[in-house]
């Protein structure tokens, strides 16, 4: 009875229009499931048995991706209640806890951010210890390093958004590291060389810290800039690079396995 119903559903035009392949009960159809799906096609069609051996991969890359998705969902939900202005930002953070159902939402986002930093480091550690950075995977290691830096930048930019004393001074200190960048930060080595007479080429109003903060210190323009970086700019870049990363896992010989 139940099987008959399932078969009838599979024969409807709606089902067939969504799933162009037959039931995945043979090798050809199982391959078609992966190859014919826009999300799954980044994934290899076939895996070695050892590829799902948890003790070898720790599934750290997969966990990182899962947390990234969870952060995207919770982050979008938080955006419904948060206004990145000096007047509202801090109050909206309080309101997210006090005036909104599921006041734990921001904590989930924050814990997820911590967890993602941890898993991304562990993923890197695993890839290093198993030698999976070696050719032909060296390009993908490079992509991974950029993704690691972007993960840290996501944490950094998200840190300012609560707009409390901790946030403002943490970003002040962090932005002063940008000030110390060689040649492009006005406090860094080399900045003094770029001075012609009294004309200072790299100053506090045109250096890399000014670009980051849209000002000389952490103020409302910095809050808006960090909000856009945190919610739009960096996630877009990360999303593209994740696609490249997964695609290259597939193209560079699949997930690395014990020799």
């Amino acid at each position: 009875m139940a099987k008959g119903f399932a078969d009838k559903v599979r024969e409807t035009q709606v089902w067939k229009s969504i799933f162009r392949h037959g039931p995945p009960d043979n090798a050809r159809n199982r391959a078609a499931v992966v190859a014919g799906n826009v999300f799954l096609h980044l994934h290899p069609i076939k895996l070695k048995k050892s590829g799902v051996q948890l003790g070898y991969t720790w599934c750290m890359g997969g966990l990182t991706f899962f947390i990234f998705l969870a952060l995207t969902v919770t982050g979008v939900l938080l955006m419904f209640y948060y206004r990145p202005t000096a007047e509202y930002a801090f109050n909206d953070i309080i309101a997210l806890k006090e005036h909104v159902p599921l006041g734990i939402m921001r904590e989930i986002h924050r814990w997820g951010a911590h967890a993602m930093v941890i898993t991304v480091w562990l993923h890197m550690f695993r890839v290093f210890m198993t030698g999976s950075y070696k050719p032909p995977r060296e390009f993908n290691w490079g992509v991974g390093v950029i993704l690691l830096v972007l993960t840290l930048l996501l944490s950094f930019t998200g840190y300012l958004l609560p707009w409390d004393q901790l946030a403002i001074w943490a970003i002040t200190v962090g932005a002063n590291m940008a000030k110390a960048t060689p040649f492009v930060g006005h406090g860094g080595p080399g900045a003094a060389l770029a001075q012609i007479g009294d004309f200072v080429m790299v100053s506090d109003k045109n250096d890399v810290r000014f670009q980051l903060l849209a000002g000389r210190f952490v103020g409302e323009p910095a809050l808006l800039r960090f909000y856009i970086l945190h919610c739009v700019f960096i996630p877009l870049v990360v999303g593209v690079l994740i696609a490249v990363h997964f695609w290259r896992v597939r193209k560079d010989g699949g997930i690395s396995a014990p020799l």
Binding site: W169, T172, V173, A175, N176, K179, Q211, A214, G215, F217
Partner: protein
């Protein structure tokens, strides 16, 4: 393709056109990237002016005056016959210390750096004294503070003429 639309490009001409096309395309992309970079630097910002008039010499008593701290980030300090404009940016990592009148010191809440009234560091991680700003008298006898010019103790610049006023 009809005969009318056929061109008589030879191989050499084709490649020269192609070069021009690619160079133009690359230049256009680089130009757009440059514009996008320039876009990140606003032409106007609404931060306090770097120069301001800080009243007259008679307005200050011996010790630290905090009236310009919130607006301009400057302490006016009158000490042993000298009046100077002290930066309120901690030389450790750029937080803003507090003036503690009972203990006669500036104390940074971030990592605990401490400075004497003169601005010289004596405790905590601060690597050097607070900076002083250019201070001068206008023709009307008002005090003008110019934050674009700093004087550093460790470079021996606190002896320079515009780093203090004799009072």
């Amino acid at each position: 393709m009809s005969d009318e639309t056929k061109t008589n490009l030879n191989r050499r001409e084709f490649f020269s056109y192609l070069s021009v096309a690619w160079i133009s395309f690359t230049a256009a992309c680089a130009g757009l990237a440059g514009l996008a970079f320039r876009f990140s630097y606003p032409n106007v910002n609404f931060e306090p002016e770097m120069e301001f008039i800080a009243g007259s010499v008679d307005d200050y008593e011996e010790g630290v005056d905090e009236r310009w701290k919130n607006g301009f980030g400057v302490w006016m300090v009158k000490l042993e016959g000298k009046l100077f404009a002290l930066s309120n940016i901690c030389t450790h990592l750029g937080c803003i210390p507090n003036w503690l009148p009972a203990e006669l010191k500036f104390k940074c809440p971030c990592h605990g750096s401490g400075y004497y009234t003169s601005g010289i560091n004596f405790e905590g991680p601060a690597p050097r004294p607070l900076e002083r700003y250019k201070i001068s008298l206008t023709p009307e006898g008002k005090i003008k503070v110019d934050k674009t010019k700093v004087y550093r103790y460790e470079k021996g610049q606190w002896d320079q003429s515009d780093s203090f006023l004799n009072v």
